[in-house]
Subunit: 339 residues, 2 copies
Amino acid sequence: MTKKSSSVTIRNVARQAGVSVATVSRYINHNAPVSPEVAERLIKVMAELNYLPHAAARHLATRKARVVGLLLTNMTNDYFAPLLNGIESVVSQHGYNLLVATHRSASNNDFQPPIGPHNTDGLLVFAASLKDEQLYQLHKKKFPVVLIHRTPPDDLPLPFVTVENKAATRAIIDHLIEVHGKRRIIFMRGPIHNEDSHWREMGYKASLQAHGIDYDPALVLAGEFERKVAQESMSTCLSSKYPEFDAVFAGDDEAAIGVFAALQQAGRRVPEEIAVAGFDDQRMSSFLNPPLTTVRAPTEEVGRVAGQQLFNLLQGLPVDPVSLLPTEIIIRRSCGCNH
Amino acid sequence: MTKKSSSVTIRNVARQAGVSVATVSRYINHNAPVSPEVAERLIKVMAELNYLPHAAARHLATRKARVVGLLLTNMTNDYFAPLLNGIESVVSQHGYNLLVATHRSASNNDFQPPIGPHNTDGLLVFAASLKDEQLYQLHKKKFPVVLIHRTPPDDLPLPFVTVENKAATRAIIDHLIEVHGKRRIIFMRGPIHNEDSHWREMGYKASLQAHGIDYDPALVLAGEFERKVAQESMSTCLSSKYPEFDAVFAGDDEAAIGVFAALQQAGRRVPEEIAVAGFDDQRMSSFLNPPLTTVRAPTEEVGRVAGQQLFNLLQGLPVDPVSLLPTEIIIRRSCGCNH
DNA sequence: CCGGTTAATGTAACCGGTTACATTATGGCA
DNA sequence: TGCCATAATGTAACCGGTTACATTAACCGG
């Protein structure tokens, strides 16, 4: 009965093949010539023993984990399937692995995030999954970080990738006002301090102002980019007399679903009575009832670009400090159009 | 100019605090008593130096990676957002990290999957992301594996978690036949060898047989559980005279969307002319136009249960060899009902 | 035939933790 | 007072790779 671990190591392979561990290592990494006979013996022995180099040992010796991390706040939004897909595709292309973790930056101050320099070579940080101070610390260590849907705090030259929010939102509000004659348009906010939400609100305000419509704080509701929250906000709003409104920009598609649900439950018709618009153009948005007028955000592309930037960073290649991916408004029926 | 790596190690901490590395290690892992004064000094020093134990070194020494892997074939289906969410929640609860990788078992035979014993403590294997032989190899090494939406090959006692497919599909086909008088029902298959698809087809056939309807191979189409594929299959089917049909069970909700699109494009009305049903009950399915009649699969719960089983395995706790989560049919409008 | 270059390989230190074992200090009890 | 159990800590080997440096063999031109 062998007490030894059942895992086969490079030394087993070396002994079995009658060479030194250095030779085996060199063969595996193809970073120094190995004689053909030895190579042949090695492939055979490695296959027989079913040898796989131990990732941690390698990581320790080379100081490369061959792993990148993705930090996000949660995964309850369908938005994340395409994002992950985009990221994963470039990560695997580079022969790396992807470590996924959720972390609320709001939680106990100095609670360390579960992924970082100790277990990855670089980090993709989504929105508010890390707080500024933690970003500063990572940067101080020269740790590669790319931000997604978030800009770096002052003086931190971290590359980030996000989508154009303000102009698209402005365009969609313009549409509601100009084409459909709406004047009382609800704006649903995302999570507090969410930058996308911020710029969408800027677009909203810009449009109102351009049309001489007063900004009414009563028309701003909490949607949180979550279906449930949006539904409740909408419901409580509906059950009170004031404010009256004739349209709602839901913040994102997910919240738009919640708005649909609340409106439907209250017997208000979309778009005849209330126009609704979202943001993201999720995969199913064109099949909703009614089809959702929204803004198309290239989510999978965001993932790919972010991944690509991170690998540029890792390889010392030039990096785009800002990747602002274009969006376009998608007019369907929920605004009252008949596309 | 220090050539040394910028990372701070346990030896730095030890020196700075005037103790040995063993003491630091013991404090970190709370596995042996440390005097209060030393503890106090350590927390201070560790905070000052911003010390984080190197995961690989730990992994190497303890032979525990504190990482579990999730292997899947792709992430192009919205189905995966809730699945990942369920898995991630239990993984992080246990203080572990999640490594996500895609891998087509169809690809070059002996091409090693990117995650396994060398970089994780256990694996969640989704559907056909690994082939039987690779499962045998993992099992030979006593490596913890839990299957998701897949049963183990013969004689392999791997725990698996999936959902009830056959009875639910049978119930929904029964419904189409009995309530809506459909007789020519298309069945869309998922990917080849997909077990869910297999059992759904069994349910389909069982229902037909029970109602004395002949099984017509011309009525089974390829849907692949992918929207695009389903749409094309449906379209080509529509453009040819034969077969006639009055309903389609799309295989899953994703494919149902494709069916909706094809039908709509061809000017066929759902459900007046053609009834449609799906499977999964994705988050948006109730908001489709028309709301989709489908089967609710507890996807997030599948993720949680699978994760839980894997941790039971890791901790030597008893494991349920099979977790068959219940499903229920959700009648909405796409079948012709008026809910 | 010899000094020097190059190809192929071996030896052993090192990466940063953990932990078996050894050591020292302290308090209890006969 | 002396002996032993126990608490707190230190030393060094070890986990499984990589790689600087050393070594040997082969080959080449003069």
